[in-house]
Structures are given as structure tokens and as C-alpha cells.
Amino acid sequence: MADEKREKPKINLNRVKMPKQEPLVRAHNFDEVATGYTKEMAMEEAGRCIQCKKRNCVAGCPVNVNIPEFVLALRDGNMWDAVDQLKANNALPGICGRVCPQESQCELVCTLGKKGAPIAIGRLERFVADWESDQTNKPKPVIAPSTGKKVAVVGSGPAGLTVAADLAKMGHQITLFEALHVAGGVLVYGIPEFRLPKAIVQGEVDYVKTLGVDVRLDAVIGKIDTVDELLADSYDAMFLGTGAGLPMFLGLPGENLNGIYSANEYLTRTNLMKAYLFPEYDTPIKKSKKIVVIGGGNVAMDSARCAMRLGAEEVYIVYRRSREELPARAEEVENAEEEGIIFKLLTNPKRFIGDENGWVTQMECLEMELGEPDDSGRRRPIVKEGSEFIIDVDTVVVALGTTPNPLIPSTTPGLDTTKKGTVVAEEETGKTVKDKVWAGGDLVTGAATVISAMGAGKRAAVAIDAYLKG
């Protein structure tokens, strides 16, 4: 038996390296940075998994992917098995495998991580998903007989796509409304091509369509029909997954100078509108020489790495705490460093200075030091008095975070919202206090992760299905 053979397996603590484009090459193109495991590499890495009884890894994943099972199937080359095990709990493995913060989730608690490198779960997930998408003989998805119930899903990010797919498979008739001209939410307008190729997101959207979901683009709910109008019209239930798309600014003097962007604008121009292909595509973006990105999350890393690829000579990240507190995925911080992005840590902007034509030319900064831990548990940055200094810049990207767009809450009476603008919904089901309305993803949690949005979508789908059949 396979199990006996591996009774005393020799534990291999070194993970198989991910092939990547060379830093100096990739810093100048928008192709994917990590090129992906070959089948041999994937099977070798899968072979390192010791199939723990305790399944730490599964507990570490917000949607409890059957990790040991899919990894074992992959090790043995049973690819369709691996696909089934993986997709049982994760509808978007090609995306999660690429962008999940694995180091703080499944891989953080992998048993092998205590002594060496944890299993590269994300990379294996990506491999299995990519393998599946290359297959031409995909089995047809099983769709339950029609229930005759109609559900409207608002927002086509990971939360909305997941709800739509799950409910469609359960036999409900789904309309998915999206405000932009492309479906995918942050996956298409925010996360850049070199981290998540848009063809992969499109593949997922196409899959959702094959389930019979009617995807309506250019549809800003609240401006065209409101939530109440849709409910009155014909829908039996609704899911709101409109994300957290409203950019925050610093409120500092000079912030409206030319050359100062929100990260949302910088990334939307670059990714959604393909400004990196200007003038073939019509949307322009500033050609920067010296650019500063303010912030330390994934959004800041993505903005800085886009700037590099758009041809900037010097790219800085200005962050008010230290490297340890950078909220971005560890892998992306490393990638950014390798690509030559300069980190100015413990630094905070004070004001922006412009020329006579209204273009930003300088940024005044303050040095910071870390004090006692604050509410978030991270050490609080404190200004060093009199530490002002000037950086010359021609572009600034403000990547401070986002809050939910107020359009849906303000046009939907009966929803409960928090001070931060998020919509209140039950964690386990996504049910809001409003009759027939569920919500999930960044709209409820504030800016979070792809996998948590997806998890919220899965739970809401179960709850909506129970309600419709109840």
C-alpha cells in the first residue's frame, strides 16, 4: 500500500524553487513574474507533503481547501482527482494560488514549516488550476434542475463571482451586475497583469457564464435600478459584493497638484485601461522619472512595480512604520526589492510642493520612530520633531487604503452600515438586516483578501439557497 511505503519517509525540508523572470528583465515588462512549476517540479514539491493527520494546513485556509488530498493526487499524477479535490472548496484556484497571502494562512501552519520550508501550497494550487485550464476535454459542470428562483448579484469581484457560480449550479437563475465595462473587480482593475494575468480572470468569468449566469456590464446599480427596484421587479434575493473601491487621500496641502494619483487611478489606468500600451490604447498615464508611492500594502507594491515597468528611473515606497510591519505579501515585498524599488521606511509625507503650472515637484517628509503598540497590535509610529526633509518627485501615488463606495448604502434604505462605511452582515451567512438581501467581501469587511471575499461568497450562496428553498 502507498501508505506503508511511506512509513518512514525521509523528510525533505527544501521546497522546489519557483521559476521566475530575472528581476532586471521583468522590471521592464508586464508579463507574469513567476512562470510556474513544470509538472515534474509540481509532483516533486507535492511529494514533500507528509500527509499530516492533524491537517494544520486545512485549518489555516479560510475556505478549508482539501490540501492533503489534492496534493496527494497531484503527487501521484491523478490530475483530475487533484482538480476535483481542489475545486470542492475553492472556485478560483488559479487566482488564489497566485495572490493568496499563503505565508500568513495555509503555509504559515504547515507542519513542515516548523523545521524548514512549508509545502508551496499556493504554487501547487496554481499548477493544478493552470493544468485544468489547458485541458480541452473538461467535464461539463453539473447544474441542478431549475428552481425558477431569480437572484441578482451586484459586483463581479471574487465575492460576486463566487456567489453567482455557486447559486447557478444550485439551479437558480442569476443576473450579475457590474458597474465597469469588464467583470472581475479588483482582479482586473487593481492587481496587475504581471501578478495575475487578465486571461485567467477572464477564464473564470467565462466559466461563470457557461453556468448560465447573465453578466450585465456597464450597470451601476443605484444609478440605473436601485436594490429595492430590482427586488420589486423580479428578483427573489440579492447579494451585494460591491467591494471597497473608494480611495482615501491624506488631506495634506498640495494633494490636488498634477502628478498626484490615488493608487486606484494609477492602477486602473495601467491595468484596466492598459495605459502601458499607450498610444495603441487611448488612455494615457504620466511618464515618470522619479515617483514616490505612499503606503506599504499590496496596493502600494503593485503601484510601485507598475511604475517601474512604465519606465520610471527611480521608484520609492514611503511607509511610516518599519519593514516588519509592511502589510503586503512577503513575496511581493521581496519581488519589489529585487526589482530595484527603494524603501524609505519610518517616513511620512507632510505636504506636496508644486511648480507654477500646478505640477508636483517635491514632497516634504518627516522621519518617524516606533512607540508602544496601538490597537492593531503594531507599534505606533511617532513623528520625530524637526526631522523634515525634502524629496524631489514628479509623480506621487497615494496608496493608503480604500473604503466602500457609498452609492449602494445611500440608495438602499434599510441596510445597516458602520462608521467606516461597511455594510453590516452576519459572518456565517452574509445576511444583512434588510429582507432578502445578503452581502459579503470587502463591502462588509473593508479592504481584505481575495480568499476571504470568496469565502464570504460561498457562505452566502449556501444561505441564499436555503432561504430560496425554505
Binding site: 458597474a179 465595462h181 456597464d218 440605473i224
Partner: protein, 283 residues
């Protein structure tokens, strides 16, 4: 895809399209705008809603050829389709009954002023309109504006029709002679709105302008359209496009409108080269 049902050339450079977009037509109100993409590679850019037909499910836009995008749009004919048409966006113009309102229209914006004036008239206001064009051959819709106005003053820069004056001159006279004016609405080129606001300020008459910064999404997601009004930052696409003209920081707006001059020129040059090559091909 959204089909162009009808095309009309109001002047050689100003065109009217009626576009099939039932969801937008159902909710459109005066003063709102749409975001349009000509084709898949096009930019997202705003045009004001010039009218709507809820029964037909159509929305009317009127645009002036300025750079590459508006010129590319102008090559389309009835029966052709455009890639994206999103709206209605922005807050509709408040059209309460305040008494007497002066509507000031500059150039292509006449088409936008007509539905606003109509709504104000329907609400019971007396309408005095002032329209300004560079010259007679660029003028259009004086009859439509006449129909919705109790009084209409036409001016041209070169005197080829009506008074030889900028709109600010008759505007000032109207305010001097009509003490009952409660509201001025000025829509047109930025510079015109700036000076119209400066003209009304000494009279203390509330003045609404429809701002036109560069936009991308039009839904409050990018902040590209930010303007300074009364010392605060506002997003034109969701907080406007109408603002109190006396509170607007016009210098910030005008600087930001020039953000992409070089790129716009590159686009236009390439477009003209392309057009020439197409003509050459046909000859």
C-alpha cells in the same frame, strides 16, 4: 454594444447622437452625464446627457470634436455601435422653482443647457437665456433654447449674429436690470464658467456651473476628477458635476485639465496620420 440610432451634424464639428441604452434612458435626468468608450481600446470619457426618450430607450449626446477620442467618435454613423455607455452618473441639476433663472450657454454646451432650462421652466421658473458662440456658422439650436426661454440673448465673438460680445457682458446687464434673478446656471468651456462666476459674484446671485475635469470611471473610484470647492476636495463625478461657481478653485481645475497635453497631442497626431493613410488607400 450600444447602437447609434440617429446622427445629426449640428455644425461641422458638433454632432448629436441618439444612442440605444434603455437602462440609462429609464433614469436619466437633466444635468447628469454618461461615460463612453468608443471601442475596446478607447478611453473612458464623460459626455453630458442632452436628452432622453424613455419609451424608445434612447439617450441623446451632443459632442464637439476636440482630440482623438471625439474625432474617432465622430467617424461613426447611425447603425454603428459603441463599446461602452455607462450612466446616468452624477447628481441631477436641482430644478426647483426659485423665480427667475438666467441660463448661460457657451458653444457646444447649448445642447446641455436646453434640457436643464426645460426642467427649470417646467418647475415654474421664468427663464432668461444667454448663448454665446464664436461665430454664426458655429451656432446651433437657438430655436430650441428660444422655445424654453422667456427671453433669449444671442452673442457671437465676431458679431456675425446677435451682439458682438462675450456672454459675460449681457449677463452683467441682465443682473443689473432684473433684480429678481435668484439663480444663474452657466455651462460651457471652463474659462467661460470662470468668468461668468466672476461676473455674478458682486451681485451675490447663486451661480451653478457644471465642471468638466478629466475622468476615468465616473463612479467615485479613482479620484481623477477631484476639484477644490470652498477649500475642500470634491469628486466631480459623484459630488457634482454641478457646483457653486463662487466656491470653485478655477486654477486647480484648469491645471488638472492639462495633465495629459503631450499624450493628447501624440494621440491626435497618430490619428491624423491614420486618417490620411486611409484616405490615401481609397484614392
Amino acid at each position: 454594444m450600444y447602437k447609434i440610432l440617429h446622427r445629426e451634424d449640428l455644425t461641422p464639428q458638433i454632432h448629436l447622437f441618439r444612442i440605444e441604452a434603455p437602462a440609462v434612458a429609464k433614469k436619466a435626468q437633466a444635468g447628469q452625464f454618461i461615460i463612453l468608450m468608443v471601442d475596446e481600446k478607447g478611453e473612458r470619457f464623460p459626455l453630458t446627457i442632452g436628452g432622453w426618450d424613455r419609451e424608445e430607450g434612447s439617450v441623446t449626446i451632443v459632442f464637439m470634436e476636440v482630440g482623438k477620442t471625439t474625432r474617432k467618435l465622430a467617424t461613426l454613423q447611425a447603425g454603428d455601435s459603441i463599446h461602452a455607455f455607462i450612466g446616468p452618473l452624477g447628481i441631477p441639476t436641482h430644478t426647483d422653482n426659485v423665480g427667475t433663472v438666467v441660463c448661460v450657454a457657451g458653444g457646444f454646451a447649448t445642447a446641455i443647457v436646453v434640457p436643464v432650462a426645460q426642467a427649470l421652466k417646467d418647475a415654474g421658473n421664468k427663464i432668461i437665456s444667454v448663448m454665446g458662440f464664436r461665430s454664426k456658422d458655429m451656432m446651433f439650436w437657438e430655436d430650441k433654447l428660444q422655445d424654453v426661454s422667456d427671453e433669449l440673448i444671442i452673442c457671437t465673438d465676431d458679431g456675425s449674429c446677435g451682439r458682438k460680445a462675450l456672454v459675460t457682458e449681457p449677463l452683467k446687464e441682465v443682473l443689473e436690470t432684473h433684480k429678481d434673478v435668484k439663480l444663474v446656471i452657466a455651462i460651457g468651456p471652463t474659462i467661460m464658467m470662470k468668468f461668468a462666476s466672476a461676473t455674478t459674484k458682486p451681485f451675490g446671485v447663486k451661480t451653478l456651473v457644471s465642471l468638466n475635469p478629466i475622468m476615468v470611471d465616473g463612479t467615485g473610484m479613482c479620484g481623477c476628477c477631484r476639484v477644490e470647492v470652498g477649500g475642500e476636495t470634491a469628486f466631480t463625478c459623484v459630488d457634482g458635476p454641478d457646483f457653486d461657481g463662487h466656491q470653485v478653485d478655477w486654477d486647480v481645475l484648469m491645471a488638472r485639465q492639462k495633465s495629459y497635453c503631450d499624450e493628447e497631442k501624440t494621440s491626435l497626431d497618430l490619428w491624423e496620420e491614420y486618417c490620411r493613410s486611409q484616405m490615401g488607400g481609397k484614392a
